[in-house]
Amino acid sequence: MSSVIGSETSPTDTGDVPVTATPEGRRPRFSSNAFRSLAVAMWKGFVRDRAAVFFTLFFPLFFIIIFGTVFTDGGTAKGKIALVGDVSVIQQLPPDAKAAIDKTLELKTGLTRDEALHELRKDDLDGVLEQHGNRLELKVSNGDQVGAATVQGVLGSVVDSTNIAVTGQQPRYTLSSSSVQDESLKAIQYVTPGMIGYGIAVGATFGAATTLVEWRKRKVLRRLRLAPVPTSSIVTSRVAVSLAIALFQLAVFVGVGMVLGLRLTGSWYMAVPLTLCGTLAFLSIGLFCGSVATSSEAAVGMANLITLPMGFLSGAFIPLEAAPGWIQAIAKVLPMGWLVQGLKDTMVRGEGPAAAILPMLLTLGFAAVVTLIATRFFSWEDS
């Protein structure tokens, strides 16, 4: 028996068998076999996890369906004005001019002057219009200044064009305008890109964070380290699965959106590279959460704490155009903000492929920086 206690320096009697190896050649080479089987294992683990599938797929889908069906008529409500007494300028307009006014204004007749003014004070009306000879008198409320301005503008232009028509001259200048966005301006146009951004953020962040924590806690990472598998195979398989999930989400969300009336504009295909870059950014957040947290509950909490406010501050749930300025400012420094912005620009605002370049570069840069930070916290085992 060779259990000589305390003989630390005694030579080993293994003869000519080399006991020390040079560091070179010690790293296992990337194995496509290992990559494939790990990716398949992670994919199966995802599709069999009902909660994960719900939050990455059905939860954003609910938002798309709810916003897409409930808020179908976008744009602001028509301005309502009451015509008191005889307002012949408006009432005797030719039919095509009358139709144009009906698009923006709802005209009410049959109210007495007092009734009309009472409703105006309650902001049930946007204006009350009277005609005294050749003079039109419009009363508006200060309660709804946007509505008042709309009414004033529309009526002003009606008066102008009527004046020109009375002179019998052809107008020298004409203005024709059309919207650069899809004309319908439906809510679905804004909700779909927003939910793509939020959905892939949740999928990638939670996927990476919980896999990392669970595998470390349950010693799967240790088991992988005991197998001749390089770290690159493990990392790339996780990234590949998250990218595949994100593309699947993109296809489903766009598909359902189109059923609900989503109309894609010119360079919508840039949503694919945008989604891939965004996924890398959210994977880095997940890697960070998974490295810092010691339990999957903590990891999920952290991931929620990051993705949920980010969703609100990035215009994923609400259109940023209607949000206060400070939210718009914050959205400009968040990866989900860049992503949602890029998706909206290319998918519904009709901008060219170039509009996706900056968001892609920003998300990739974010991914690189956060990954670098996360690796400083990463460990294979719970200490």
Partner: protein, 300 residues
């Protein structure tokens, strides 16, 4: 003869305290070797240093002629490590776990069914690992450690928290594995397990090896007395004391117990008197050796 494992003066300290304190032993090829000791004795840390998961603070490990630290990819395909029964991929079936682990080693696909058969889980192949019983998932984790046909198998408390049937079931499996020529290193805090399974055991406590050898030798070396008991009605107390070789005797409600270091003449005398009704002979066990070595102080 080349030893499969050679451990020399191994030391590991945590926060200044030596958890493994100058441990040395060798394991021969094909041997079933046990590290026996209470929880916290340093068994697992010793194993982890041999497997190359931890760097020793002092001492050396040679495993299959190679140094396991730092992570040595040439060594990894030749060792199988059974971890906790929870080290599985999420929501994969028993078969999928095995084929995933197998593909990490480029193991032939046929090994999966062979392993399921070996550990008796062929009928559970389609069950997700999370839904297996304690004994079943323990057997699956052993199958996962064997799927690439390693030369050396490390098992860290494989029968902890198993019911008696599952334990015996697993013992048969471990003997079968050893019978196939694998060198097996096992840690356990069950004395009976070490006694039944191991060719040699090292009794380890507070990071030090206290005694090492085949279980039978360790028990014999203790020279602890044998206790022979028969039914009380068959033998009176005075008769018992007067038997040749009897050192002492006592009686309780049901039996007369004779203590002797030379049980053979006592048994012969009992047979002569036809006083063998309810005979029980209990020799010393590894547990006695352990208690002798470590004292009986209560440990939490």
């Amino acid at each position: 003869m080349t030893d499969t494992i050679e451990v020399q003066g191994l030391v590991k300290r945590y926060a200044g305290k030596a958890v493994v304190d100058d441990v040395s032993f060798t394991v021969r090829e094909g041997e079933f070797f046990g590290l026996l000791g209470p929880n916290g004795a340093g068994k697992t840390t010793t194993l982890e240093m041999i497997e190359g998961l931890r760097r020793p603070d002092a001492g050396s490990v040679v495993l299959l002629g190679e140094a396991p630290w730092p992570r040595n990819p040439r060594l990894l395909p030749r060792i199988g490590v059974q971890l906790q029964a929870t080290a599985f991929f999420d929501r994969l079936t028993a078969r999928e776990q095995l084929s995933t682990f197998g593909s990490l080693y480029d193991a032939p696909a046929g090994r999966v069914d062979e392993m399921l058969e070996l550990v008796g889980l062929a009928d559970k192949a389609g069950t997700q690992a999370e839904k297996l019983s304690g004994g079943q998932s323990q057997r699956l984790s052993i199958a996962c450690a064997l799927v690439h046909d390693p030369d050396v198998v490390f098992l860290d408390e494989p029968t902890a928290a198993l019911d008696p049937q599952a334990r015996r079931n697993l013992w048969d499996l471990l003997r079968e594995i050893n019978g196939r020529g694998k060198t097996v290193v096992l840690t356990t805090h069950y004395m009976d397990e070490a006694e039944i399974l191991c060719d040699r055991v090292a009794i380890i406590d507070e990071g030090r090896i206290l005694r090492m050898g085949p279980p039978a030798d360790l028990v014999r070396g203790l020279s602890a007395p044998t206790r022979i008991s028969v039914e009380r009605a068959a033998l009176g107390l005075d008769d018992a004391r007067s038997l040749p070789g009897a050192e002492s005797a006592e009686q309780d409600a049901t039996s007369t117990v004779i203590t002797s270091r030379t049980p053979a003449p006592v048994l012969a005398a009992l047979a002569e008197r036809d006083a063998l009704a309810g005979l029980q002979v209990r020799g010393a066990t590894l547990e006695d050796v352990f208690l002798e070595l470590t004292g009986r102080a209560y440990r939490a």
